[in-house]
């Protein structure tokens, strides 16, 4: 089993590249907890708009803040919002989908209608409503992204769980007198784990983009907490004087999303049921 995994990995260079990118991102986050080149919120106006140098590896922004530090701490923001939003959505959505698959009947139909409803409200729309009510902030961003994620996970888990329920070994378990809850825990959950993990990775990538867009629009995390999206907003204002500012946060976002997409695609291939044993 181990060597099969290694050969599979060697045949998927893009997966490895994706893991590298995500690893880089996680390393930046871990680093940010202990040390950053400069305090990211330290304003130093005399030193504004400096080009990259030994002192400031990526230069400084319009208020003299060190860009490298902003990027590293911004990585943390993206990660936290992403994990929270996708985690919440996955938990709720999977609960709904699995419940529907187990109970069937009117409950199933109702739950699916409710979940489908979430598809009409993409993250930005929900964020607009929430921001109008409660103002922008991390909570708004997480809640807005989570709503859409719930719908996605509800649908995916429902169809994956439904497929497991129709398998022969589940019929056998039921014939032995196993209750629905037990079947769900013993058989359904382990067997839908793979597609859910793949979907979670992809949704994570989507969440990063959504968080960036929300911060860009001013609906996400509030200043002074750094965020890649808001950095792009500020960079745009400095477009004529310092066009290079727009480069770094955008590259950071693109690399993080690319990494996650590659990992998700790779996982989808690696976790293909033909390679993994039945549970």
């Amino acid at each position: 089993m181990g060597s099969a995994m290694t050969t599979a990995m060697r045949r998927h260079p893009s997966f490895v590249a994706g893991c590298g990118l995500v690893g880089l991102w996680l390393a930046a986050v871990l680093l940010s907890l202990a040390w950053t080149p400069y305090p990211p919120t330290e304003i130093d106006v005399p030193n504004r708009l400096l080009l990259p140098s030994a002192a400031h590896w990526l230069g400084t922004d319009s208020l003299g803040r060190d860009i490298a530090s902003l990027l590293i701490v911004g990585a943390r923001t993206s990660l936290l919002v992403g994990v929270a939003a996708v985690g919440l959505g996955a938990l709720l959505g999977t609960a709904i989908g699995v419940l529907g698959a187990a109970r069937r009947g009117w409950l199933d139909a109702l739950l699916m209608r409710v979940a489908d409803f979430g598809f009409a409200f993409p993250a930005l729309l929900t964020a607009l409503m929430l921001a109008a009510l409660a103002g922008p902030g991390a909570a708004t961003a997480v809640a807005a992204i989570a709503v859409f994620n719930t719908a996605v996970f509800a649908r995916i888990s429902r169809s994956a769980a439904g497929a497991v329920w129709s398998r022969d070994f589940v019929l056998a378990a039921r014939a032995c007198g196993r209750g629905r809850w037990q079947v769900t825990v013993d058989h359904v959950l382990p067997n839908i784990a793979a597609p859910l993990i793949v979907q979670a990775t992809i949704q994570f990538a989507v969440a990063i983009l959504a968080e960036a867009a929300l911060s860009y629009l001013g609906l996400g995390v509030r200043p002074p907490q750094p965020s890649w999206g808001r950095m792009l907003n500020e960079a745009q204002e400095m477009m004529f004087q310092a066009p290079q500012l727009a480069l770094y946060p955008g590259v950071a976002i693109a690399l993080a999303v690319l990494g996650l997409n590659l990992v998700g695609d790779g996982l989808r291939d690696l976790l293909d049921p033909r390679l993994v044993r039945e549970r």
Partner: protein, 314 residues
């Protein structure tokens, strides 16, 4: 019969969406009253204002009034602009709708072309190239691409304006020019996603037996593509296009901000800043309604393309 069932579901979803939006924005605290009152106003003044705005009515009545307004076109007045909301929306739609349409047209043309091209060059360089580009396209935030486009084409080469929109009246050509870069920024991500879907759908269909049957009848490769493969590949492609429409709309909001286009996006942001909840409510309803309507249209289109889908219950 099928149409009635789907039509009923469509209306039901619209109503449900409107109920949710109304519940969130009109019933929860932080209402329009507080916005308009001066600080230190008395509770009596607040109550009087509430009555004037019709906010003291029971929720169902207010909801009914709003629904009737949606149907008749009377959406009340905007607090911040002091103008009928319907007028404001109509004005802004003249920017957002053409933007979305141009982006959709660009998306369809390029995604289908690239997808079919990649499928025809399967396992060769062309396919790998398109897939790599598509990965990049999906990873790049559309507003960053917009900023980069401005940097290169507007500030650098000065071929297009860096933002703003002067209206259709005086110079339609210039108006179109201001919408082109935003449309490209919007379309890029959509093309990346849709080209992938098209490519895999085409590859799947090409493996089917009926393609071989058509060849056995004497149909050339290109004719097989147009007559059999594309139609059969259309189902998954249309499905994804429908799902992506929501992203197109939200993308439009963001891109409008980047280019400072006076569309629905900017309107709703200003409304949020001004706590002009009525405007937010109606704009959100408009967007949600558009998403639901497009999904309904796609459903109908899918059944028209593949009548087998009539039996599938969603």
């Amino acid at each position: 019969m099928f149409l009635i069932r789907r039509g009923a579901a469509f209306v039901a979803t619209l109503l449900a969406a409107s109920a949710l939006i109304f519940a969130v924005l009109a019933l929860l605290p932080g209402s329009a009253v507080d916005v308009r009152l001066e600080t230190g106003a008395t509770p009596e003044a607040a109550a009087a204002l509430a009555q004037q705005l019709g906010l003291d009515q029971p929720p169902l009545v207010r909801y009914g009034r709003w629904l009737r307004g949606l149907a008749s076109g009377d959406l009340g007045r905007s607090v911040a602009y002091d103008a009928p909301i319907a007028e404001l929306l109509a004005e802004r739609l003249l920017v957002t709708v053409p933007l979305a349409l141009i982006a959709m047209a660009l998306t369809v043309v390029f995604a289908l072309a690239l997808g079919v091209f990649a499928a025809s060059r399967h396992r060769r360089l062309g396919d790998a190239g398109v897939m790599a580009l598509s990965q990049l396209g999906m990873a790049v935030p559309n507003f960053w691409l917009a900023i980069l486009l401005i940097g290169v084409f507007a500030v650098g080469l000065q071929w297009f304006p860096a933002g703003g929109f002067d209206g259709w009246q005086d110079d339609p050509a210039a108006a179109l020019r201001s919408l082109l870069l935003p449309a490209i920024a919007l379309a890029a991500v959509q093309v990346a996603i849709l080209a992938r879907v098209t490519r895999s759908a085409v590859l799947e269909v090409m493996r089917e037996d009926f393609v071989r049957s058509a060849r056995a009848q004497g149909l050339g490769r290109r004719a097989v593509l147009w007559r059999h493969v594309l139609r059969n590949a259309l189902v998954p492609v249309l499905t994804v296009m429908g799902l992506q429409f929501a992203n197109l709309l939200t993308g439009a909001i963001v891109v409008e901000k980047v280019f400072a286009l006076p569309g629905l996006g900017l309107l709703v942001f200003q409304a949020i800043a001004n706590r002009d909840l009525a405007v937010v409510q109606n704009v959100v309803m408009l967007f949600a309604g558009a998403v639901i309507a497009i999904n309904f249209a796609v459903d109908l289109l899918l059944v028209a393309v593949d009548p087998r889908l009539k039996a599938v219950h969603r």
